[in-house]
């Protein structure tokens, strides 16, 4: 597979390490009332869609950036690649 890195251009997926669903960015609040339930869902339950999937890849043999890749799990077609840090900020994550 080829991942079109937003800064570096197309690079072989072999340079990257896969983590999983991009929802892993949305780590729950540890002090929430139902923190245990939220962390259970965060840590364990997945949509696992047959189709478009937003997922986290780490460019370990590259610029060390985490990317959010939108890829179809039926065709492997990649339609979008974003810098995960930007995505995390856009989703309101802070310090």
């Amino acid at each position: 597979m080829i991942i079109n890195h937003p800064l570096l251009g197309p690079r072989d997926a072999a340079e990257f390490v896969y983590l999983g669903d991009a929802s892993l960015i949305d780590r729950p609040d540890w002090q929430a009332e139902d923190a245990m339930d939220q962390f259970h869902a965060y840590g364990y339950l997945r949509d696992n869609p047959a189709g478009e999937h937003k997922e986290l890849w780490y460019h370990e043999q590259g610029d060390r950036s985490w990317l959010v890749v939108t890829r179809n799990t039926l065709t492997h077609e990649i339609t979008n690649v974003e810098i995960a840090r930007d995505v995390a900020r856009a989703r309101g994550r802070d310090k």
């Binding site: 896969y18 669903d21 259970h40 840590g43 339950l45 047959a50 999937h53 997922e55 492997h76």
Partner: protein, 416 residues
Amino acid sequence: MRYSGFKVLWQGLTGNKGWTRAWREPEPKPEYDIIIIGGGGHGLSTAYYLSKEFGLTNVAVLEKGWLGSGNIGRNTTIIRSNYLLPGNEPFYELSMKLWENLEQDTNYNSMVSQRSILNLIHTDGQRDAFVRRGNAMFLAGADAELVDAAQLREELPFLDYDNARFPIKGGLFQRRGGTARHDAVAWGYARGADSRGVDIIQNCEVTGIDIENGRCVGVQTSRGAIRAKKVAMCVAGSSGRVAAMAGMRLPIESHVLQAFVSEGLKPTLPGVITFGAGHFYVSQSDKGGLVFGGDIDGYNTYAQRGNLPVVEDVCEGGMAIMPMIGRARLLRSWGGVMDMSMDGSPFIDKTHIDGLYFNGGWCYGGFKATPASGYCYAHLLAQDVPHPVAMQMRLDRFMTGNLIDEKGVGNQPNLH
């Protein structure tokens, strides 16, 4: 029709004209006691044991494609019960015992061949872990044999003992491990279940799960609605898709595992060999092909195909431990979609919806589990209590923290 050597001789003498079909091709009935979604190995064995052990025959197996087209049709055929944890090992040992009687039980030669499975040891730490595992196997009534490098050299002279990057320090054998002819396992179960009255309905895709007042009452299919008292999901690889029909999210990701077979060769390998410092395991089929595999590709996918880096990684592992296979050619590759669970272990459980049951999360270990999976699922479906050896294979174990994490890599499916 009962199969036997005599029958083969008689049919041979009379022009092979008297063979009858191995199973019916029934039309679906409007209602069943139990519907099993998925006519792969686990679905068929569930149907078989339901009919044989629990006398339940008003059962339908619904298969989207052809029978046996699940992962029973695409695996590396290994059977073993060399697990570590109490949540797993007794289950796989039950499976092994069922394998050992499978052919007589089903009257079908599935070529269960207990030619042994070996895990190679390359470091002291690995040896400690394998001793722990071997001893756990003993505690569960299985067999295990620890050997050193000298013993291995005698038994398997073709491994690279002298120039290996990761020196071979010994191994753990399970002599009762081995292989089985995967397709024949499905056919044997199908024939056995069919002959007892189970309807195996091919080309029948489930398109919806009917839930009324919190209770599952049947399914929608490409061949119409079918009602049932109990609906049993058994679609490892597609669990996410089918469970979504019931609005469920699962602790499972779908990943592809590639497997490979070489051109046919005269006898080369005695049993199954697993490389402990790379990703490679191999056996030789009765037809002579080296059947081998390695790691999953590592990204979520429902496509039954993988990519080149994993092919290379697997072959590198092969050449690293047995450089005599360099001139053997890889003939065919295929990819199976695996239910990779969050701790690498499976589920056989009721769901939170009455009448809806779940069997899945087999990762890449589903083939060897086929008999016990069917047996325990049948037990659960028939009696509504889990079989003792499958007690821990619960869907809620991540809520309670009762993990069954053999590899100790945590809640990241592609690491298991």
